[in-house]
Symmetry: D2
Subunit: 336 residues, 4 copies
């Protein structure tokens, strides 16, 4: 039975608290948050204690921490927690700055402690089934990957301003999916982006609609489409053309009802947002982390994976600015 501390009691922290408490192999023992009330509410609901970060890290009885704090604290907390001997599951992104993330990676390496990055979508049953089918050769050799990832509605501009921008905040999930399915980071990145959804997003220096093309040294290509506003729900699809066929993961819909009238056929729309779509993924993600820690096996999403996705985001940001294709640094884990 692992003792877990949760750092961060905000929206995503609450999601993780549910996964932790639902897992039979661990116990949520401590919670911390800069917002005292949030910490107390969550602690009360899950029968945990509110403690300080220092206190948590000093407690030898705590085996692992889940970092769900604001992004600017991720690298520091990863470094401190691993130095204190804890296993870590940290929300994405590792950091907004690639350099800082690389420095964090170097420090963590010296501790030998496992750090897993919270790319929850890898644990979605549909995406996981697609990945398994690809890996078992069901459509031959992968050639052309297309990821569609639209949010239902844009976040407040106040959030946009501290988010690191669409590529680091939103498309980073898709970069990870692309690297995961293709088996490593791409060698080149080209991006086109605009602010079409909300002019305030553009005024804040960010984009809300983007297409990014990734290519690998062996010629394989991936393209990611993002929009901050689909309106109809959370549109999360993957489509991979291989040498022997096309494999795709469609959306999950609200229900299976269909109505046919003179006006046509009416059916359900995709489920609204990430809580509806990915709750099972969060649970499976946590279970995978707990399993890796318990069995001393590698975590399935590494800090290096988090850095590869961040490198793609940085390259896409640069490509939009310069209009040029950007090569990823050779030390990225691409070039399969």
């Amino acid at each position: 039975m692992l003792n877990i501390a949760l750092l961060g009691a905000g929206r995503i922290g609450q999601v993780h608290a549910r996964s932790i408490s639902a897992n039979p192999d661990c116990t949520l023992v401590a919670v911390t948050d800069v917002a005292a009330e949030a910490a107390h509410n969550l602690a009360a609901r899950f029968q945990a204690k509110v403690r300080s970060v220092d206190d948590i890290l000093a407690d030898a009885a705590i085996d692992a921490v889940l970092i769900a704090t604001s992004t600017d604290t991720h690298s520091d907390l990863i470094e401190r927690a691993t130095a204190a001997g804890k296993a870590v599951l940290c929300e994405k992104p590792v950091d907004l700055a690639l350099e800082r993330a690389l420095a964090c990676q170097a420090k963590v390496a010296r501790t030998g402690k496992p750090v897993m990055i919270g790319f929850n979508r890898r644990f979605d049953p549909n995406f996981a089934a697609l990945k398994a089918a690809v890996d078992s050769g069901e459509i031959g050799k992968a050639e052309l990957l297309a990821i569609t990832s639209f949010d239902p509605a844009p976040p407040p501009v106040s959030y946009i301003k501290v988010s690191g921008g669409l590529f680091r905040d939103m498309m980073i999930h898709d970069f990870d999916i692309a690297c995961w399915i293709m088996g490593g980071a791409p060698s080149k990145v080209t991006a086109t982006a605009s602010s079409l959804v909300d002019s305030e997003i553009g005024a804040a220096g960010d984009v809300d609609t983007a297409v990014v093309t990734l290519s690998w040294a062996d010629g394989r290509i991936a393209v990611v489409k993002n929009s901050r506003r689909a309106g109809y729900g959370y549109d999360q699809r993957i489509e991979l053309l291989g040498s022997e066929g096309l494999l795709s993961a469609k959306n999950e819909l609200e229900n299976t009802i269909e109505k046919i009238t003179r006006e046509g056929t009416r059916s359900a729309k995709p489920v609204y947002f990430f809580l509806e779509r990915y709750m099972r993924a969060y649970e499976a993600e946590w279970a995978a982390f707990v399993h890796a820690i318990k069995t001393s096996t590698p975590v399935p999403v590494t800090l290096a994976d988090g850095i590869a996705a961040l490198a793609c985001a940085e390259a896409a940001t640069r490509s939009v600015r310069t209009g040029e294709t950007v090569a990823l640094r050779p030390e990225m884990p691409g070039g399969l």
Copy 2:
């Protein structure tokens, strides 16, 4: 907070135990089963006590009982529990014999205690959405209902022999759905049935494949198809033609993956059986019962509903034997 006792710790009892323990407005305090080990295992898992039926019914602190014992005990236990002042949720069918169920209904009426019958499918999100769409007039006036209900594989013949037969054991769910959607019991029933799946089922005097047509006094028609063996999973669909369109509830599938190759397009099959398909329905069913008891409002599925479905089953059984259309007794709640 309602205190609940669970009578019956078999497969379906375990399903209900999960719903009871997941519901924030009630506590599972007692469990009983003729199989002592099953009772103890379930009690241990859900922190309840193993007690006798007599003991449970005598305990004034217990507000409601959930009856999930074998069918031949249902009527007796409903009568005893309501006489003891308990609210009751009883698994379907009420009884194998219509006469016995009617006698039970009369006794219960004198106690004034609420009895809900466990027709879980009414609480399936898809079927509930279809019913809501019908009731709000989305396809005009209902005319022709078609229910497809196939199990993945037949039960053992030992079960068949005590089940009361396909109409009372399996199609009773579909009779309830038909009565629920059409708003009352039919006036006539015609059945055609065979043993095609398993010759031992035929040897035991039962059928495994059946089509039953129900008609209402106003001319509306419903048809139910049952098979004990679809092979590919649990096929549970409803389709209603109304004066202004067609409304249907499709199956839930295992995932959203699609693969297109030279051989065609491959996608998922329906989820395998009732646990995969109806777990959310069982939870919603129990929540509806708890809500009704807490607010002293009528339970959404009554003992009369259970009797109407049983009357359909009895009529279908007779129709297969005689080759004639069977009229339901006038006291059934049909003739809308």
Copy 3:
């Protein structure tokens, strides 16, 4: 090159004229119709001559006739044409009266000339693909067949009055499909029917909504649903449960457009009526007839097939009246 005469220049006659003229192995040389103007218009359009029935049948240069006249003339014309040595393709039904059709069959038998009945749906590419899949054992042994067949809107009551009723006029197509897929006529028929769509249809003694269950001596079952008014288009589906799976033929839709908005997903409805749905089937039907005549091989839909479907229609009519299951005469080609 076969010389063809078309008897009947009404709506369905015009459909056949197009198939005849599109077929490279035959020429439409003569047309007749009791309505002189219709005959002349069609003849002009397809460069044929208007001639009398007597004249056509006396012309040794005419190889085959396509009978698309009113139903009450079918038997007579089949008898006269075959007696005159012509091959015949006759629209369904053979006759409104089973006795008359049987007498016709006896006369035709003495001429040895081929008579094909126009059950066009057998030549629909979807239904033909389903039949081929069944016959090649793709879902094991057939067990439970379900046919849905809804017209978009009821015909005028004046048509209803001379139609022979829903079972002989409309469901006869579905009876043929059932016999074709199951490999012979059923042994028993049970019907339930109402007039829900148009009270004038009921006043004329006919029904507009019906469910008919057919069963074969070996226990296999088929159920047919008919409505004269789906509203949204022509709903033509087949679904067959076999011992190893479910095979279905869905509707053809107006287009492949899908729109997802806050209101849900909107897609196309089925194509409107038989001309949109079955034009390719009519062409293939005619090609199959021409092929059989040219190669002196059996026609794929025989007069016996037309009689089997008619026997089902007669049995269904009787079953509605009596409330009893009706056994088909033993001489029907069932009992596989």
Copy 4:
């Protein structure tokens, strides 16, 4: 009644000959081809005469010519035919060289004769329905367009070598669709491409797999995916995200059959290639041309449209070479 001459009796010429002969408002009177046998076969089949180009252009009785010769002859023939007073429908692309196409456009302008470019896909019923829905505002303002366009199998390398390359030969259709739906040419083009399918295509200096991103001055974005080898058929889909929803045109499938077994659900794959998918589009394209000529109204696809698509192809070719985003010349009809 328009008299039509067909220049080119190859594969696509034969497709057009069928459309011409099926159209009631025109007659195919003359055919020419450098391959005498092809010309004679086609002429015999459609009762036209084989004549030389000079002869055809000199014949005042010929109203219009359809140019379906090899691409390198298009500009010359357009110029000569319009100079001779003929209306022209010319297959895509206008020319392999943008400069040559622009010179052709200038010459044609002086004749005042109508020239339509054969972008058949605009006349596909599905794509046309999507365009109509966009234009009527069904999903608000267009924002992000995605076109998937995969051929079933690559052409021989001998064809590739004279084709002008994937962008001018294959993706030019998609460029036209993008310009058509978005209402004008884009301002910038970025391309990523590889040879993954056939190494001989790479050795010939061409690519077989490509992703091209187009952007408009107002920030709207389109992305096109091409592969020369889908294997499973012709994959032709459009998907447009607008401010109020998502509109998509799916593939047409071989049939509507679905089979569910233990192995999952099996359904049809897309129709195999452009003849199966776009035959109706070719007919509608020709009907639109004939209608424009008869009514002296503008043709629906202009020479300028052909040049805009060619400009995109040229920009994409350059972008792959340089790794840079390429701006289209300001004289292109973009910048809505």
